[in-house]
Amino acid sequence: MLLIPCPWCGPRDEAEFHYGGQAHVAYPEDPAALSDEEWARYLFFRDNPKGLFAERWSHTAGCRRWFNAVRDTATNEIHAVYRAGEPRPVIA
């Protein structure tokens, strides 16, 4: 089980959180203007790296707030957590 450092509540067990998948996926500014390929990409394609991944979590059993984390999917190490709306931190 992951120990996830909620930016508001501190480190808590993974069981308290809900996963939200890839972070920083913006809703298209003009959905009607998208081609089928672009729409497919927005709906169905997400990054799936073996390595650093910026992802969303919600602390559903705590403060109920969404935030982002950068986690290494090869090791599960969480390198950073940051609040929604903040840019993805650079990990050395």
Binding site: M1, A15, G21, L43, F45, N48, K50, A74
Partner: protein, 415 residues
């Protein structure tokens, strides 16, 4: 083999010995007509049918670890074909028919046991969906029955059907031709048969790059040097996104850990396979006597072959809910594999935007049962350059056309 006959045997007594050497572990040649990336069940089956059905024997199967040491060694060995949609029924039933003749075809024992599978319903919506699926199965020539709780009890006497439990059993679908096989033997049978036809099995050979020239794949870079290839067929399961990425191909996949566990060896108590989407568990009893259980994936993406313990905990409580008799069994081992999940719980099999590069992935939590069927169809796709009719509906472009094959109902946790 009927459950009755089985009850009289010593568990494990019929496990056959296997010869010391089933295949040559080959040194990579400089070039092959077809390079298959991934030496799991799907890769091995594809190699076998390429050689047997299409006469293409200058083939290498590249495996980064040891043969069939990934998800092929980690699944819960359930075989069934009772999926909802016509497209799925087509490929899974093709697989089941091949399973029924596979021991003879490969000349190798697989302990294929058609002990049936029960998919339990716990709510009125479950019941409606299940009955609908039974009807859909029958229209597709897939054997399926709707059983009342009492009939469920007849098929599997240890299921608790009392109405007072949190999720009472309101009935279940039953596919008598479904069952289990011994996964390692399946891999070894395919590897031996393919090697006998001339296929090179190359272990400890990780693909680190794909050579693409003018939109066409020409070879692979590996930890054992470059290998030229007329065609490259990916069968890398949880690592498909990584490998396809070497050629700039994006796949609609997310990789997650999926766990399973076994109990200690027990006397035969469980004559069939029981799956329950609502309480999230699937259980059978292996030939040796272990109870084999699987659950759902970990929520977060990960390439770690290890899942979170709270998933196991929930899985155990679900199993106890259905089978109070398991209360005194012990968990002997738990393990995890990395599964590649698609948005519609159906696989991706077919061509890619890169010429001569083919993809077979996205089987998520349920690829084992499809092994013979997908091997057959994928080999056809690779050999001819055209999708086999049974995997044509599972092409990558369905995510653009919108013609998804949504099998969350029949797959879900219990694929």
């Amino acid at each position: 083999m009927s459950p009755e006959t089985q009850g009289r045997r010593t568990p494990g007594a019929d496990l056959p010995d296997h010869p010391d050497r089933l295949w040559r572990s080959a040194e990579p040649k400089r070039a092959y007509d077809v390079v298959i990336v991934g030496g799991g069940g799907h890769g091995l089956a594809t190699a076998y049918y390429l050689a047997k059905n299409h006469g293409i024997t200058n083939v290498a199967v590249l495996e980064r670890g040891w043969l069939a040491g990934g998800n092929m060694a980690r699944n819960t060995t359930i075989i069934r074909s009772n999926y909802l949609w016509d497209e799925s029924a087509g490929i899974y039933e093709h697989a089941l028919k091949l399973w029924e003749g596979l021991e003879e075809d490969l000349g190798y024992p697989l302990l294929f046991s058609q002990r049936g599978v029960l998919n339990l319903a716990h709510s009125l919506q479950d019941v409606r969906d299940s009955v609908r699926r039974v009807n859909a199965n029958r229209l597709n020539g897939v054997d399926a029955e709707w059983l009342t709780p009492e009939q469920v009890k007849e098929v599997c006497p240890i299921v608790d059907i009392s109405p007072g439990v949190r999720y009472p059993v309101l009935g279940g679908t039953y596919q008598p031709r479904a069952g289990i096989a011994k996964h390692d033997y399946v891999a070894w049978g395919y590897a031996k048969a393919a090697a006998d036809l001339g296929v090179d099995m190359i272990e400890h050979c990780e693909v680190t790059g794909l050579d693409v020239r003018d939109g066409r794949v020409t070879g692979v870079q590996t930890t054992r040097g470059p290998i030229a290839a007329g065609k490259v067929a990916l069968a890398a399961a949880g690592h498909s996104s990584v490998v396809a990425g070497y050629a700039g191909v994006s796949l609609p996949l997310q990789s997650h850990p999926l766990q399973a566990l076994v109990s200690e060896l027990l006397e035969p108590v469980h004559p069939t396979v029981v799956m329950s989407n609502a309480v999230h568990v699937y259980v059978s009893q292996a030939h040796k006597g272990e109870l084999v259980m699987g659950a759902g994936i970990d929520a977060a993406n990960s390439y770690r072959q290890r899942g979170a313990f709270h998933i196991i905990e929930r899985q155990m409580s679900a199993a106890l809910e259905l089978f109070p008799v398991f209360a005194r069994a012990h968990v002997l081992r738990t393990w995890g594999g990395v599964v590649d999940v698609t948005p519609d719980a159906s696989p991706v099999v077919g061509l890619t935007p890169v010429e001569d590069l083919y993809v077979n992935c996205g089987w998520g939590t349920g690829g084992f049962k499809a092994t013979p069927g997908v091997g057959w169809c994928y080999a056809h796709t690779v050999a001819t350059g055209e999708p086999h009719p049974l995997n044509a509906p599972f092409s990558l472009d369905r995510f653009t056309t919108g013609k998804l094959v949504d099998e969350h109902g029949a797959a879900a946790v219990a694929h």
